[in-house]
Subunit: 345 residues, 2 copies
């Protein structure tokens, strides 16, 4: 078994390298790539994603998995070996249903759409983005059809983010939340003595906002020797290994919350990625358990930690050192309320 | 022939995508990657370079080339088709001799060495870099032996940069240059009324140096919509397509020449890359003709243009706007001489 497992790991390692390379190319596209690079980048991403897919769904990996599944039956369910075989087999079964061309088309369409989206966003020009969105929706429908589903088409796609989760379950969760939250938000937003958060929309120097965010990330435990923060049009986190995790934020002079809470949110994702166990590197296990679990980390940091009174009891005096003029006369309690103001978007 | 040529181009396009991806990963390593990313990056580069190599030296490409070489015999030597077949066949013959493992090892060793070199350089600690250099030299010897050579071992490696050039020819060129240059430099450096270039070592604000260099690059014709400049420990230029060309420079407060002439030099390389014909994209023809031809472009810009009186007649007044204090009282003629000062390194 050891030899077969090693062969599987070697193959999966190379596939993971291709995926990591594609992630670097996407990170670069969203942070530094000049607009002219878009067409070539789309081709490069299509090739990388297609090759990674083709190598993964090869008959050799299928044969190895089949043999290993039989042998892994005796292993502890939670052992690395049993988990690797189980998770890889689950992914294999799904990926086998997706044709190479669809993987390539999706990578290409997404890369081309990003550039169009950036431009459309800057110009508030939805029609410029619309054909790209149409193409991506069409490809996702093809993807769902290739994967197959019983109840709802979206079940096939949801399964890629939350294994085994069904659309009906998600709808039930949101129905329950809606029933409780909508009247609550309406009641708060309708109150006459609404919280005053005007202070968050004063002029805050961009470089100082950046420096404050870097300090918070550092103190959250984000290791800048094994990652970095950059700027992008929309914040995101990606990683090329647990030792190279990249998050981004965006900084607006007149919207204080954007950069800081973006950084704390992405910092939550990034800590999860930096915390993955080194022994799992270059295997499919070296990844978030699901999108929901990942988001639980970012939301925990952003909202439960970052908007807490304890957090601001510590950071408010520090923030005043960065922005003495803007926060002149402001006290912790009013700032804490402003940060937590509930309003209808 | 058309169908076979198309098949060849499709395969070469995907290989070029992998090479471009590897170039992005190297660019990232030298500009933004945190030190922790080194080990994973070395694996990723090894996988990408090895796969590109393995796909290129495949029997299928050999078969296509053989058939196309016969058919291309009637074509105009300089036509794109004949050139593609000829250049690809030349590269194929060379690459076939290099084993996959050596390509992977070389990529890995180089990536690991870069990080060690950066650290060793910062600490003036040669012993820290020495084992990496030893490894790279050893691998290059293996490479030369795999490629084969008649006269000198270095002939095999030189051929990778300057096709058909021999070590003996290069030695002859340098012997001739040395005979003329060494006495000349000695005579100039020994003069009592040496040129005074102290002005180049005053304190020049880094951001202003950067801004001035960006302006010069722009006016040289470098298209920032199809490329960008960043900072790195040692300047270099790379490209991911003619529409995405990256150059770097380094900025020292007290050494004015470093950033600007670095930018102009790399700008020469970058203009060559941006000027490659779009029709050749994603083929082996979309590349510099040789290292020597590439360097002819960078040196032309750096020395023949960038150190000329004409250049500074235009730029000296502009530079004074950036650095009025440093250049107070300095005239064009003395600055021009300082920029061109000859000294023994």
């Amino acid at each position: 078994m050891k030899k077969k497992l090693q062969e599987l790991k070697t193959r999966l390692g190379e596939i993971k390298d291709l995926e990591a390379a594609a992630n670097v190319l996407e990170w670069d596209q969203m942070t530094y790539m000049p607009p002219g690079g878009t067409a070539a980048r789309a081709e490069q991403l299509a090739t990388l994603r297609k090759m990674a897919h083709a190598l993964f769904v090869s008959d050799e990996i299928g044969r190895l998995l089949e043999e290993l599944q039989a042998e892994a039956a005796d292993l502890d369910y939670d052992s690395d070996e049993a988990s690797l075989v189980r998770v890889t087999a689950r992914d294999y079964e799904k990926e086998r249903k997706i044709p190479d061309w669809l993987v390539a088309e999706m990578a290409k369409a997404t890369a081309l759409a990003h550039e169009a989206w950036v431009q459309a966003r800057a110009e508030s020009n939805y029609p410029h983005f619309q054909p790209h969105l149409r193409k991506i929706v069409d490809l996702n429908i093809r993807m769902a059809e290739a994967l197959g589903y019983k109840d709802r088409l979206y079940d096939a796609l949801l399964d890629l983010f939350e294994p085994e989760m069904k659309t009906a379950q998600v709808a039930r969760i949101f129905d329950e939340l809606k029933a409780g939250l909508v009247p609550l938000v309406r009641a708060i937003a309708g109150k006459k003595d609404a919280v005053d958060d005007a202070i968050l929309f004063l002029d805050y120097d961009e470089e100082k906002q950046w420096a404050f965010g870097q300090e918070v990330l550092h103190q959250m435990g984000f290791d800048f020797e094994r990652g970095r923060q950059d700027k992008s049009v929309h914040p995101f986190t990606t990683s090329f290994s647990p030792n190279d995790v990249r998050l981004t934020t965006r900084v607006y002079r007149n919207q204080f919350k954007t950069a800081l809470f973006g950084s704390i949110h992405e910092g939550g994702h990034a800590l999860y990625e930096q915390g993955l166990r080194p022994a799992l590197e270059r295997t499919p296990l070296c990844d978030g358990a699901s999108l929901g679990v990942h988001e639980s980390q970012s939301r925990l940091w952003e909202n439960v930690v970052g908007r807490s009174r304890a957090f601001w009891t510590f950071y408010f005096p520090r923030l005043k050192e960065f922005f003495p003029e803007q926060l002149d006369g402001m006290d912790l309690e009013r700032f804490y309320k402003a940060i937590n103001k509930v309003s209808r978007a």
